[in-house]
Amino acid sequence: MEFLNSIFVKPFADMVGAPDFLLQVLWEGLVAGVLYALIALGFVLIYKSSRIFNFAQGIMVVFAALTLVGFHEKGVPALLAVPLTLLVMFILAVAIERAVLRPLVNQPDLILFMATIGITLFLIGFGEIIFGGENKVMITEQLYIPTGSFEFEPFGGFVSIEQKDLTAVIGAVLLVVGLLVFLNRSKMGRAIRALGDDHQAALSVGISLSTIWVLVWFIAGVIALATGIVWGARAGVSFALEVIAFKALPVLMLGGLESVLGAIVGGLAIGVLEKLFEIYWGQPLLGGNTETWFAFVLALVVLLFRPQGLFGEKIIERV
C-alpha cells in the first residue's frame, strides 16, 4: 500500500504542493527537449532526403563547437568565427558528398550507414589532431549570449530561468521555423521533400542529387553548430558531447525517422518526461540517474504499439 502510494499518489501530491518547483522542472525539461529536437532534426533531414541514417550527426555537433572555439582561440573575433565555422561546415558537406556519398550511391543502406560510422571515426581523429583532446569552454559571453537569470515568484514560490537557456529556446524556435518555411516554400525545400518521396522520379525530373545532398548535409551542419553552442554553453565543449547524439535515438523512435514534426514533438516530450520522471519517481524510488535510460524505455514502449513512431509518415497505399 505504501509502495503504490509512493508511485501513484505522492508524486502528484508533490507537484500540486510545490507548483513553483514543478514549473522549474518543466522548464529544465523543455530546454533539454529543445536540444534533443534539434539533433533529431538533423537526423530526420538527412534520412528523408537520402535514406541514410547519419551516425555522424553527434560528432558533427562536437566538431562544429570545437571549430568555433578553435577559431576564437586563434584570435578571430567571435562574431566572425561563426560565419567561418559555417564555411567549414559547408566544406565538410561538400567533402562528404564527393568522397563518401557519390561513390557509394546505389549501394545498400547498410553500407551507407557504415560509411557514416567511418565519417564519425575520422572526425574524432581529425578533430583531436587539430584541436587537441582537452575540454574547452564555449565562448558564450563573446557571442553576446546573456548569462544572467530571470527570477519569478509565482504561487509565492521561486522559479529561476537562465537567460542563456531562454536564448537557446528562442534561437531553436527561430531555426526550426526558418527550416519549415524553407522546406515548404522554397524550390530547394520542395526538391528535398520530393527526393524523400521518390528517388527515381526526382532524378527523372532533373533534380540534382549532389546539389541536394550538399545542401542537406550543410543544413545538418548548421543545426550541429547551433546545438553545439547551446550545449557547450551548459556543459563545456569536449568529445564527450557526442553522446548527446544518442539521446536523439529515442526521439527518432518516438517521433518517426521521417517526420520533422515528430522530431520536434518527440524531442520536447522526451526532454520534459525524463525530467519529470527523474525528479518525482526516479530520485525517491530508484536512487536517481534515470535520465540515462528513461527515454529508451519510453521509446521501446511506443514502438510496441506504433512501429512507425508517433509521427512516422503514413505509407500511402492505394487499393
Binding site: R190, A191, A194, D198, A202, L203, S204, G206
Partner: protein, 277 residues
C-alpha cells in the same frame, strides 16, 4: 519487310539512337544493338511485349540507367546534334529531354501543385515564367487544377498520370520520353491521355517517344513505330503500314489475316513463327 526510309523527307531528327548496347550489373546484356530516330515534332512509338527492352531503351536515353547499375556500353545517343550518353539526367533535362517513368512515380506526400512545381527544378527563368507554365499545364489538365491541393498519393491513377506528364511539361521540354502511359488505366482514360499527348505535340511542338504495350492505341496516335523484341528492333515503319502488317496484326493487335482465331491456333502459329526464336 523492314523500311529504313526516313519518316518524312524534311523533318530533321531531334533524337537518334545508334546501335546501343546496354548491360546491367556488368553482366546482363539487355539491349543488343538498338537504333531509332525521332523526328523533330514527331510522335514515335516503341512497341513490344513485357521485358522486350522498351523501358531500358528510354532509360538509356534519359540516363536514368546509371541509378540502376546499367550502362550503355556501345553505340551513341544523339540529341539535337550532340552526343548525350555521358550527361546526367539533370543536364539532359536542362537541354530539353525528360522522361515520364512507367508507373507514374508521383511524389506521394506532395500536393499535386508541388509535384508540378518540382518539375521546374532545372529552370532559371524566374517565378513568373514558371507560374505561367503552371497555368498552361492546368489548361491542358483542368482536372489537376481542381485537385491541386490534394496529396498526390491519394489521387486516382489517371490523375497521377496527368500529374506525371504535367510535371515533365514544367521543365519546358523539347522532347518527352513517355513510358507506358496507358498502364493500369481504363480505356476511356487512355484515350483521354493520348488525346492530350497529341495536342501537346501539335500545339507546343513537343516531340514524343512513347513506349507502349497497347499497340493498338499507340499506332493510332504515333506517326512512326518501332517494334522491339528481346533487345533488338525487329520491325519499323510508318504507323499506318505497321497497322496493316500481317505479323503485327497477329502478334500485337490480336487479329489474324482471316479474322479472329481461337486462342489455341494463335499459340500454335506463334510457336511456328516468331521473328526471333
Amino acid at each position: 519487310m523492314t523500311t529504313i526510309a526516313p519518316l518524312s523527307e524534311t523533318a530533321a531528327p531531334i533524337l537518334s539512337v545508334n546501335n546501343i548496347e546496354v548491360i546491367y550489373d556488368h553482366v546482363i546484356l539487355v539491349l543488343k544493338g538498338v537504333s531509332l530516330t525521332v523526328p523533330k515534332g514527331g510522335i514515335t512509338a516503341l512497341l513490344g511485349a513485357n521485358g522486350a527492352g522498351k523501358t531500358t531503351t528510354l532509360k538509356a536515353i534519359s540516363n536514368l540507367l546509371h541509378a540502376e547499375r546499367g550502362e550503355v556500353t556501345k553505340g551513341t545517343i544523339v540529341f539535337e546534334d550532340q552526343e548525350v550518353q555521358a550527361l546526367s539526367p539533370n543536364q539532359l533535362v536542362r537541354r530539353g529531354c525528360i522522361q515520364v517513368m512507367e508507373g507514374r512515380h508521383c511524389f506521394g506526400h506532395l500536393s499535386i501543385e508541388d509535384n508540378l512545381l518540382s518539375g521546374a527544378f532545372t529552370r532559371r527563368d524566374g517565378a513568373a515564367a514558371i507560374r505561367a507554365d503552371l497555368d498552361l499545364v492546368y489548361q491542358y489538365f483542368p482536372r489537376l487544377k481542381v485537385r491541386r491541393a490534394s496529396q498526390a498519393g491519394y489521387t486516382s491513377g489517371g490523375e497521377q498520370q496527368m500529374t506525371a506528364i504535367g510535371r515533365a511539361l514544367m521543365s519546358r521540354p523539347k522532347m518527352i520520353l513517355l513510358d507506358e502511359p496507358s498502364m493500369g488505366l481504363a480505356p476511356q482514360l487512355v484515350e483521354e491521355i493520348f488525346e492530350i499527348v497529341k495536342k501537346l505535340n501539335e500545339e507546343q511542338g513537343v516531340s514524343f517517344l512513347l513506349a507502349e504495350q497497347n499497340t493498338n492505341v499507340a499506332l493510332r496516335y504515333a506517326k512512326y513505330g518501332y517494334i522491339l523484341e528481346s533487345g533488338r528492333i525487329v520491325l519499323d515503319g510508318e504507323a499506318q503500314a505497321l497497322r496493316e502488317n500481317e505479323d503485327v496484326k497477329e502478334f500485337y493487335l490480336g487479329v489474324g489475316g482471316e479474322g479472329r482465331k481461337s486462342f489455341k491456333d494463335v499459340k500454335h502459329y506463334k510457336r511456328r513463327k516468331r521473328w526471333l526464336a
